[in-house]
């Protein structure tokens, strides 16, 4: 669906040339230290920023060639939260950017555990609740603007979707993302800080360090203790790797 061909940024913030692809139905996690260039990479993938060398293609067509409006029916972006200005109701906010079927809105509210809040003003919500509303809005845009000819569910880009969520909500969100990815053949790319979430839920991981991709592959291939220690400069211990599942990490006190 989305392919990168030596996509790079040459002026700061720089990004070394990247090749790769994002496929329908998969959950791709972008991890890396603060300031590594994760959000910059995400804004390249969304077309908000144009790459200065190489190309990124969506459905075989250069992102720069897509009209902004048409692009919005193929990919949605949920950037990091900005302080809300006005008192939208939750339902109104979810419908921004599309003309959704009320049934879809209700379903998304239910899936994001927001049904009780549907009539509330977003100014009265907590940071975590607002974050779930914004994610629901992105999914709503993709699903309700999807053309009948589309064989997949489009591309959903999330910048740190779990940053304000408690541990239970993190689990529910990551499960829900996987569910959407499989059910609608949606491609989901999210920037994550929590390596354990990436390890548990992502199909593939890109590790970004210092404006370049340090490693990519399955969580087990990418998230090795040696590599993480050198990239993050943190002392880590592996909690489980024996059962063939993905590795889990804890800090050494």
């Amino acid at each position: 669906m989305l392919t990168l061909h030596g996509a790079a940024l040459t002026t700061p913030p720089t990004l070394a040339p990247l090749d790769g692809s994002v496929r329908p139905g998969e959950l791709l996690a972008i991890v890396g230290p603060n300031g590594a260039g994760k959000s910059t990479l995400l804004s390249l993938l969304s077309g908000f920023r144009a790459c200065q060398a190489g190309a990124i293609r969506l459905d075989g067509r250069d992102l720069a060639q897509w009209p902004v409006y048409a692009l919005a029916s193929r990919r949605a972006m949920v950037a990091q939260q900005e302080p809300p200005g006005f008192d939208w109701r939750v339902e109104e906010l979810i419908a921004l950017g599309s003309d959704p079927d009320p049934a879809l809105v209700t379903q998304l509210l239910d899936q994001m555990d927001l049904l009780d809040l549907s009539d509330r003003s977003i100014l009265t919500l907590s940071g975590g609740e607002r974050q779930r509303v914004l994610i629901a809005r992105g999914v709503c845009q993709l699903l309700s603007r999807r053309s009948h000819a589309a064989t997949d569910g489009g591309l959903l880009l999330l910048d740190e979707p779990t940053s304000a969520l408690d541990i239970g909500q993190q689990q529910r969100l990551m499960r829900q993302l996987r569910h959407w990815a499989h059910q609608h053949a949606m491609a989901i790319v999210c920037v994550l800080h929590d390596l354990n979430l990436a390890s548990l839920y992502a199909d593939r991981v890109w590790l970004i360090d210092n404006g370049a991709r340090a490693a990519h592959g399955t969580p087990a291939q990418v998230l090795t203790p040696e590599r993480l220690t050198s990239v993050y400069g943190a002392e880590l211990q592996i909690l489980s790797n024996a059962t063939g599942t993905a590795p889990l990490f804890a800090l050494v006190p």
Binding site: S43, S46, G47, F48, V68, Y69, L71, A72, S73, R75, A76, M77, V78, A79, E82, P83, P84, G85, F86, D87, W88, R89, E91, E92, L96, G97, S98, D119, L134, R137, G138, Q141, L157
Partner: protein, 348 residues
């Protein structure tokens, strides 16, 4: 009536929008009729239709009262509409053409035009009128560019709000000083012209000026109305809004040009009439919610109503003298702005 007022924001959009706008349009018609029939030379629409009035008063009504009514409605709609649009653009309910210095910037340029470039004897000619208008437009546009540049550099957040208001304060102070200097060097005739125009009044409306407003203001209003959906999207923040299909640079250009055109024209024609752009959208947002598809047209109607009513009061309260309507709206808007600031500092 009560049922209309209490309509909930959950109703289907078109039905609700139609109800609200019809109600506001009816109120506007009522206020126009009231304004038409009050004060000296007032003629109620009924008297006009039934042909009972004497020829002189009918003529005075047509030549003086009607253009004033229409100009008041147009300027009110423009100021309130541009207030609503700027608040959407800055994602901040405190943005307003007066507070951000657009109006006083336009005023300074108009004063510059009157004092430095307007030849003697052109006082009432078309060169003077269009020159004033172009000066007002350029003044508003340059202030808008400066303020918006500042806001862009600061990003979102409360620091940016502070910067905006301070920038507005600085521009207002500068424009005030500039105006003072101009008044100092102006000739007596120019001084009279300056002070007549500067207080914010609809007194000098004639068909010649009103027609310019009636052609150009609707253009600017349409420009703003067409941006309603995009202004909604912008509230998501620029990156997310781009992802939802918003061409933000185009939207900004359109809103900045339309508000500068409209506010510049209003200031050139009537002087600075303050706070309408803050007051009206803010009250309507409490009632209707922040969606611009309804808020923008409702603010335009609401601004027209408020200015027509305020102008009628300005005309009649101290009759036969006239209070400049700009003073009235500032008396109303200033305290309201203070109240808003206090409420925000408590919730933030």
């Amino acid at each position: 009536m009560m049922a209309l007022l209490l309509r909930s924001r959950r109703e289907p959009f078109h039905q609700r929008a139609l109800g609200v706008l019809a109600l506001l349009a009816a109120l506007l018609a009522l206020s126009l009729a009231w304004s038409a029939s009050s004060g000296t030379f007032g003629l109620s629409p009924l008297t006009l239709i039934s042909d009972q009035a004497d020829a002189l008063s009918v003529q005075v009504w047509w030549q003086l009262r009607l253009p004033r009514l229409l100009l008041g409605a147009a300027v009110g709609a423009m100021l309130a509409g541009s207030g609503a649009a700027m608040q959407g653009l800055f994602r901040n309910p405190l943005a307003d053409p007066t507070l951000l210095g657009l109006a006083s910037g336009a005023g300074l340029f108009v004063a510059l035009w009157i004092v430095l470039f307007q030849g003697a004897g052109h006082g009432a000619g078309p060169v003077s009128l269009y020159g004033q208008f172009i000066a007002g437009f350029l003044g508003a546009l340059s202030v808008c560019a400066v303020v918006f540049g500042l806001a862009q550099r600061q990003g979102g957040g409360s620091a940016a709000v502070m910067t905006l208001l301070l920038a507005g304060l600085a521009i207002n102070t500068l424009a005030g000083a500039g105006g003072g200097i101009l008044a100092f060097i102006a000739s007596d005739e120019q001084l009279r012209q300056l002070s007549l125009w500067g207080m914010g009044t609809l007194t000098h409306s004639l068909w010649r000026t009103t027609l310019v407003a009636l052609v150009l203001i609707p253009l600017a209003l349409i420009g703003l109305l067409r941006s309603a959906r995009e202004l909604d999207l912008l509230q998501l923040g620029e990156t997310t809004a781009h992802g939802a299909g918003l061409d933000a640079p185009r939207l900004k250009r359109r809103v900045v040009v339309a508000t500068s055109l409209g506010v510049g024209l209003c200031v050139a024609l009537t002087g600075v009439i303050g706070f309408l752009g803050l007051l009206v959208p803010h009250c309507l947002r409490l009632w209707l919610g922040p969606g611009h598809r309804l808020l923008l047209p409702a603010s335009m109607l609401g601004g027209a109503i408020l200015l027509v009513v305020a102008d009628t009061l300005a005309r009649t309260l101290a009759a036969p003298a006239e209070i400049p309507v700009g003073l009235l709206t500032s008396l109303l808007g200033g305290p309201y702005f203070l109240y808003l600031l206090m409420r925000r500092s408590r919730t933030c």
